[in-house]
Symmetry: C2
Subunit: 504 residues, 2 copies
Amino acid sequence: MKSPGGRLLTGIALDRASPTPLYRQLYLQIRQQILAGRLQGGTRLPSTRTLCKEQSLSRITILNAFDQLIAEGFLVSRPGAGTYVGAEWESRETTTDELRKPPRLSSLSQSVLSLRSDHFSGISYETWEPNCPTSFLPSQGAFDAFPLHVWKRLMNRHLCQPTKAILGYGEVKGLLRLREAIAEYVYDARGIECEASQVVIVSGAQQAFNLLGMLLLDPQDSIWMEDPGHIAARIALQAQGCRVVPLRIDEQGIDVQQGLRECPEARLAFTTPSRQHPLGTTMSYARRQELIEWADRGNRWIIEDDCDSEFTYGSRPLPALYAMDQWARVIYVGTFSKVLYPSLRLGYVILPQALVDPFCAMRAVMDRSPSTQLQAVTADFIREGHFLGHIRRMRALYQARQECLLSALQQRLGNFMQLKPVSAGMHLIGWLAPELDDAAIAKELARHQIHTYALSDYCVQRYLPPGLLIGFAGTPVEQAEEKVEALAQALLKMGHSLQSGHKN
Amino acid sequence: MKSPGGRLLTGIALDRASPTPLYRQLYLQIRQQILAGRLQGGTRLPSTRTLCKEQSLSRITILNAFDQLIAEGFLVSRPGAGTYVGAEWESRETTTDELRKPPRLSSLSQSVLSLRSDHFSGISYETWEPNCPTSFLPSQGAFDAFPLHVWKRLMNRHLCQPTKAILGYGEVKGLLRLREAIAEYVYDARGIECEASQVVIVSGAQQAFNLLGMLLLDPQDSIWMEDPGHIAARIALQAQGCRVVPLRIDEQGIDVQQGLRECPEARLAFTTPSRQHPLGTTMSYARRQELIEWADRGNRWIIEDDCDSEFTYGSRPLPALYAMDQWARVIYVGTFSKVLYPSLRLGYVILPQALVDPFCAMRAVMDRSPSTQLQAVTADFIREGHFLGHIRRMRALYQARQECLLSALQQRLGNFMQLKPVSAGMHLIGWLAPELDDAAIAKELARHQIHTYALSDYCVQRYLPPGLLIGFAGTPVEQAEEKVEALAQALLKMGHSLQSGHKN
């Protein structure tokens, strides 16, 4: 056990190609052996001379490593008697590879793990793959059409002088210039009148939903949510321990009457009035009024998620719900993920005056303001007109892509799925025959490298026929037919008949 | 009430210099008046001819605005009878400016608001001010010395091709190339052996603390925290509803024995072993061993915050606590805020294998991975050697700044505060006479534009003498004397004697 040399040397394997210096590798490995109990306290180490020879190392390398280990108490040098592993490492039990059971996690963590549907983990883990085709993934825009040359020019402006303004901690609400640009944009585009001080920059809508959940909801509170509806938002609010009351969608949007019948005491309603996510319905004025009045009467909140209202094909979108609200009950959430690009990680919340300070307190505790550089570039992009130009170009492009993909789908798959053009957003819905299982089909298609989402993943109750969400924004016109053919071939391989919509 | 013209026209004020088209302004303002109840349902609007004349507008501008208002149900056109405000707006009460009481917030929000000390709100709201002097603020580095030209060159590499890889959603754990670079760096610099798969990128240490609190702690769980200690981490964990057990710091670091006496059942310990925050002590090996054994025996977690161990002046820092832990109980939190720059908003967590999946699930629910561009630039910066070079340069620079500021402070204020050089970190502690109130002094100094932090802000119990944290990293050598003189003058104005350390 306490014999020198052998035990130590077997464990050491130095990598001469590594950028880590040899003395450092030797130090780390001896240390590791002591900590793991493989080199026990009291063991005498081989002499430096022996080590030099056996490991083909210079003496200075070994002395450097030993000095550090002695300074840290791992080794003890006894003059004239050699170098020993410190006595305090004597009783150390050898670590086995067998892992002990890790300590428990929080209940919140358990509930988050159970909430995470396959779909949600799919969003997070699969679609990031840079080579994964974006063709039919909803919410994937035309990355190739993003004016990165303009972006680069604006970015370089903010990479000239290393100052505290650009490198230091940012203001908790986000860069003032960006908040002013947003306040101006939403006034013009969404009819929202607000001060820049009511706008808070966040790292995307997802962070906004979480912060708002923490700010506004206690565990056990009931909330109205659209069904089908925003999956990530539902999980965020459920993670707070809230009870979700799913409300059906009809041609006017959310069914407020159902909410009044089933849970009039809900604390909050989450809604996507401009373009219902994922069905695409626009909430009617009457319903909006009803919803706002419900919030006002009962002192309730409304979260308005307005993720891609920029992409409308045809008539101008209705003003935001926030713009109709006289009682400061609506909180507006916007994002640049769709209209610019997802990895920018910038979104914004427009808050009623009374919520500004409490929201900022929560924000400061949870996370700091996003990169000032990225905020500054986004502000310039908006203020110098590139933003509106980009939206206009993307509207035209996406409209052309929609028409082309829709016609290819109708032609090749018109008997398997029913499709209608949409007046907003980035995806079509391919309605399937009622006996089909959309989730199973989406899963199997993914194994053929064809990515769609199943409508049923967005649903809490099952009252809708099955369907597939088919993104068109990421499919160039010239690729539409080929991609549709690949989808058709995959469906055929899976045993579907493209003539009748029924299994062969 | 229902007479035409007059009421409408008084409220309309068009801005001909605005980028918003006139028809849009007219539309928004009429809409606003209807919503606010100032234009009641049934009111007849003036004829377009009248409006043309009185507002000096073209007829097409007015028709455009009216068409939109009619489409949205605000106005109704009765052929031959003119245009009216829709009947459904009839019963609308006029909004008064007096704000109704807003709906209640969550209990979490209340507790966050009560936790937020003046100090913490100071961090978040004041120090962002770009023109606020950074001189004595701890944790403010030498922004002027950041190699922004290199950063710019690396950044431009990732701004050439708009691809899904750089613009699309990133992987939930963060960019693989960055995680690999971090795993290599911490092996070399901190003795940590881990796989890139155990490294998760976050938007800074603050987000890491919150995610870990949510993952590991239930409300009412007790946790050991250093006292004095990390304010933002304490608030984050308290916001989860945890009970903080403050442990005193002696020359060996955290007092584990005190913890064992007062709360042996704590679920987690939060510690800064490399350089105790804010006292600067290094935790001894014996204490580290004691702490790890406590965690192992009772199935507990340890969060190791290692925020600025890069800046050591003199001997190489001890390896991380994570590197000593054989039982996978330690979670390591690192950040680029100090070593690169705060507004980069990139940090990382190194997790025991068993925590990787649960942490990622929580992360995916709370927020997505930070900007891929910034992660890619940081990865390049590390892998191409700029990172280690920058650390070396900053070590030399900060050491010179420390020496210079320390000597200026000792010379001018040696009787008012006691100072010793520090072997790591970015701030000195100026110890004050026991009868002084450091918090009051720091507050008053801030009114003289001199920013320091009071030691007592970091304390839960009061067992230490008062002190001021005086950052040196942001004070160029040539400004040290001048800044110290300004501090001295402010103290004199505040009525302090610089001879004895006592109030005049």
